[in-house]
């Protein structure tokens, strides 16, 4: 009886495991991994979706498929490592479906590394297309998003030299750009949340193809909800980073305030800007932004007799502060007048001054923003000069 019981149990277990299990067992080789997704404007209301798939067989790896020892190229260049397929479709799911018509493996977005959007599609509006993408279980919220001048499909065809594939190149480009204070870094889930929350608008990196093997960050793209409304150049992007609290650490080269013919290079690390909102009935909202920056002098070429002393540093700091104030104010004015979009996140601060939600909903920040009074104050602490105080002085 005991044996019978055990055998029955084993058979039950095998049935229990075999029947409902295995239904989505998919060998990793039966999957076509989509590494990069490109969205462009297509005909009419449609998009053109580009999928960049990896070709595992051509990846260089140790051992593996037999090949001649010396003859097989060790680098990634000879064989193509990725494959780009574009097709027109109203949304991404339909495009994935149609991909099945030509692909020998099942496409999957689980290893997607970057999402590239063409400028034209961004101007048309992304809300309609990206909303459906969010529904897919394969969707990854931490994928960075970028806007490219021109078409995404052509950007994805670059052959980068340092990285094995364009998707990794672009992802790493954005990440190190963000680290160096050159470009914003927006992830899909953040971008989608700005489309849901009114009064907060996103800024994505703007990239252009520079030759066959490079992409260049040319600034940022400002959005109002899901539509592109304006472009910031590289300098404005850096002011945006400081104002939005996303500046990590980076070098900034400005004209030396004491001698504008010479450049002054500083290494700036910013603390989070402090935003104070004053909202009164009948008056425009007043926002005061104060940013504390720590500056270390890297290059000060303007010739001077004495090494830099504290007084010099003070004067330099004031000069740079004043310049930053002016430039940042110009940017803010531009967003208020030309773009009419609060891309700095002040809307969240304004929301914090309301006590009940209906009041906030009645208050339309998008309308109030162009009228708001925004004052930007920088404070720079410049005490560090690197390893020497002054230029080499001949005796």
């Amino acid at each position: 009886m005991d044996l019978k019981r055990w055998v029955t149990l084993v058979i039950c277990a095998m049935v229990a495991l075999g029947q409902p299990g295995c239904w989505d067992l998919e060998e990793i080789n039966n999957l076509a991994l989509v590494l990069a997704l490109g969205l462009d404007a297509g005909e009419g209301e449609e998009m053109e979706v580009s999928f960049q798939l990896s070709i595992p067989r051509n990846l260089a790896g140790g051992g593996g498929p037999p090949g001649g020892g010396a003859g097989q190229g060790g680098s990634a260049s000879p064989a193509q490592q990725t494959l780009l397929i574009s097709m027109g479709a109203p949304n991404v799911s339909r495009a994935l479906e149609r991909l099945g018509l030509v692909l020998s493996r099942r496409p999957t977005l689980v290893q997607n590394e970057v999402l590239v959007v063409g400028e034209e599609l961004a101007r048309r509006g992304l809300a309609r297309h990206l909303g459906g993408l969010q529904r897919l279980p394969e969707f990854r919220g931490n994928v960075p998003l970028l806007v490219t001048k021109g078409r995404a499909a052509s950007l994805l065809q670059i052959r980068p030299q340092l990285e094995p594939r364009p998707s990794k190149y672009l992802e790493d480009l954005l990440r190190q750009g963000h680290h160096a204070g050159l470009s914003p870094l927006v992830r899909m889930s953040d971008f989608l949340s700005t489309m849901e929350v009114s009064a907060v608008h996103a800024v994505t990196p703007l990239v252009d193809k520079a030759g066959e093997s490079q992409a260049r960050i040319v600034g940022a793209a400002a959005f109002h909800g899901g539509s592109l409304v304006g472009e910031l150049d590289v300098e404005e992007t850096r002011w945006w980073l400081m104002l939005a609290g996303q500046w990590r650490q980076g070098t900034l080269t400005v004209d030396d305030p004491r001698d504008p013919k010479y450049p002054l290079t500083l290494m700036l690390s910013a603390a989070h800007p402090r935003v104070r909102v004053r909202r009164r009935e009948g008056e425009p909202v007043r926002i005061e932004v104060s940013i504390f920056l720590r500056a270390e002098v890297q290059e000060a070429e303007a010739p001077r007799q004495d090494p830099l002393g504290p007084g010099d540093l003070e004067a330099l700091a004031r000069g740079v502060e004043e310049m930053l104030n002016r430039r940042m104010a110009a940017l803010v004015r531009r967003t208020q007048q030309e773009l009419a979009a609060d891309i700095f996140g002040f809307g969240r601060r304004v929301r914090m001054t309301f006590t009940v939600r209906p009041a906030w909903e009645a208050f339309d920040w998008d309308l109030e923003y162009p009228r708001a009074e925004i004052v930007v104050r920088n404070r720079i602490a410049m005490k560090w000069v690197g390893l020497t105080y002054g230029p080499p002085v001949p005796d």
Partner: protein
């Protein structure tokens, strides 16, 4: 009403109702009563006879209850028949005369090869035959006692009336002496068979610590334990089990420390052993342990220092015949990844080593399963570079991942089994050949992917990190079960498997002690589970053993330390403090 198929299935699967009385559990300590009192402990130590009523085995014909006859010839004829002489060539019957006046006929019965002939010649035959020549007469009634008292200068002589223990003594390697005219026999302990010298342990080698292991000689093993625990309260009860083998089984415990309930339970289990043969502690382990569990519930160890530590904590130990493995009961899960080296090394190192071992256990159990689950079900969890590397490595392999994993695991098991039986001269060579070259060849031939070779190698290494040989062996089938679960249900299957294992382990008991003590139920008797604390913090014995004396050492140890001086003044409780009831 006829049963549906579901009802019939339920009938088959329903476990049998438990008709036995309440199963044993080591409960609260009862009050201690010294041995020999009416309710109390064991009868005086000695040979335990076979319980009455059991059928006799082939060695027992008409022996039980027989006494020695007063006439030597009768005794010798009886013995010759019993021992199938002269067919049996190694039983020797040496007849001689004791040199008393008048001379007394006597005979010595022993097994050649088991006795030490020099001792026999010099300490038994010589004094009786030669040196007693000018001796006194031996009166009939007290003949044997006088020989034992006055004429035999030997350290162990027993005078016996019954034939059965005399025969057993001869079989064990002693010499039996019969005197004409005396209805009693003598047993002289002249054992001198060859056995292996004390060597290093084969499976529990440590760097820092004693390197002695048990050998195939019960007395030598028992002596090693006695040397470690020099305490008169250490009791070694002798049992004889097995009809054909008559194996000496010695039960060790510390009287006054070990919970008497535990000792009684062990005696109860030993007394129900009724079998032909008990050849090794492994066989006895099967007969004594609780219902078959996932992991062994008694510890088999080769090291006398480990046995001594367990005895001092309140466990009981068994030495089975001439087996070099001692058994310790009860045993919990922690006993299997604790190595004696943890105690001999400094405590941070002991902790680090235990963590490494735990990691090794989990690796050896789960790594192939995790690989399968990741590659087949959860590709999104692999970093992109690794996913592409795995995909490219697998491009040329014709088998699905599951088949690959099974293939490699089975070949590894084959290599392992073959490695045990290969003559030791070429053993290491085959290890290298098997593991490295065949593995490399398989990869080059695109039969398996290189990453899988690494995984299987790590798995094997992890299983060697488990200090206990039996547990490591047992992990192997579970690894296959996990591979199957991962192949059918991904991470969910692995999680379900771990859940089931946790349930089974937590409901296993070993001699009344929950198997996962002291992890679950958690009793904080000192940092010694995963993190090993310093020795001066381990002043409580493990409470799951319910020892009669809970304090192993004074709570504040290093009294010379100025930082502890204040504590030492007021610290420490009286010894023998009973543990708090739970």
């Amino acid at each position: 009403m006829p049963k549906t198929w579901l009802g019939k299935l339920a009938d088959i699967l329903r476990p049998a109702p438990n008709r036995a009385r309440r199963s044993f559990s080591l409960g609260r300590r009862r009050s201690y009563r010294p041995p020999g009192t009416q309710e109390g402990g064991p009868a005086p130590a000695g040979t335990r006879e076979q319980p009455a009523g059991l059928p006799e085995g082939p060695g027992d014909d008409a022996l039980w209850g027989e006494t020695v006859s007063a006439r030597l010839d009768e005794n010798l004829n009886h013995l010759r028949r019993l021992f199938r002489l002269p067919l049996n060539s190694d039983i020797v019957v040496r007849e001689f005369r004791v040199g008393s006046s008048p001379a007394v006929r006597a005979a010595l019965v022993f097994i050649e090869g088991l006795v030490d002939k020099d001792q026999l010649n010099l300490a038994v035959l010589q004094p009786l035959m030669v040196l007693a020549r000018a001796g006194r007469p031996l009166p009939r009634r007290r003949r044997a006692q006088m020989v034992a008292d006055l004429l035999l200068p030997h350290n162990q002589v027993k005078v016996l009336e019954e034939l059965a223990p005399l025969v057993e003594a001869v079989l064990a390697g002693n010499a039996a002496m019969f005197l004409d005219g005396e209805a009693r026999g003598l047993v002289v302990e002249v054992r001198g068979f060859k056995s292996r010298a004390v060597e290093q342990p084969t499976s529990e080698v440590v760097v820092r610590g004693p390197k002695q292991a048990f050998t195939e000689n019960l007395r030598v093993n028992a002596a090693m334990i006695r040397r470690a625990l020099r305490c008169p309260a250490l009791v070694a009860e002798n049992w004889k089990l097995g009809r054909l083998t008559r194996t000496d089984v010695v039960l060790f415990y510390v009287d006054g420390l070990t919970n008497p309930d535990l000792v009684d339970e062990m005696r109860r289990r030993l007394s129900t052993v009724d079998t032909d043969r008990v050849l090794d502690s492994g066989m006895l382990e099967d007969l004594l342990e609780d219902a078959p569990a996932l992991l062994p519930t008694m510890l088999a160890t080769e090291r006398p220092d480990r046995v001594a530590t367990f005895l001092a904590d309140g466990h009981v130990a068994l030495l089975v015949g001439d087996s070099p493995f001692a058994l310790v009961a009860p045993m919990t899960f922690t006993g299997f990844f604790h190595s004696p080296e943890d105690s001999y090394l400094r405590w941070p190192l002991g902790t680090a080593l235990r963590l490494v071992r735990l990691f090794g256990i989990f690796t050896s159990l789960l790594l192939p399963a995790l690989y399968l689950a990741l590659v087949n079900y959860h590709e999104e969890m692999i970093p992109t570079e690794l996913a592409l590397a795995i995909a490219s490595a697998r491009e040329a392999v014709p088998f699905p991942s599951v088949v690959e994993v099974f293939l490699l695991e089975i070949s590894f098991e084959l290599i392992r089994e073959a490695g045990i039986r290969i003559p030791s001269v070429i053993g290491p060579t085959i290890g290298i050949v098997g593991a490295v070259i065949i593995g490399q060849a398989a990869v080059t031939a695109s039969l398996v992917s290189p990453i899988l070779v690494i995984i299987v190698a790590l798995t094997a290494l992890g299983s060697f990190a488990v200090p206990n040989y039996c547990a490591a062996m047992l992990l192997r089938p579970y690894r296959f079960a996990f591979i199957l679960l991962a192949a059918t249900s991904g991470f969910f299957g692995i999680a379900a498997g771990m859940y089931v294992i946790a349930l089974v382990l937590c409901s296993t008991k070993s001699f009344g002690v929950p198997y996962m003590s002291p992890i679950a139920p958690f009793r904080g008797t000192g940092p010694d589970i995963v993190v090993r604390g310093p020795v001066y913090k381990l002043h409580l014995r493990p409470s799951f053993l319910r020892p009669l004396d809970a304090l192993a050492q004074r709570p504040v140890q290093r009294r010379w330390d100025p930082q502890l001086a204040g504590e030492a003044e007021g610290g420490g409780g009286p010894r023998g403090q009973p543990e708090r009831p739970r």
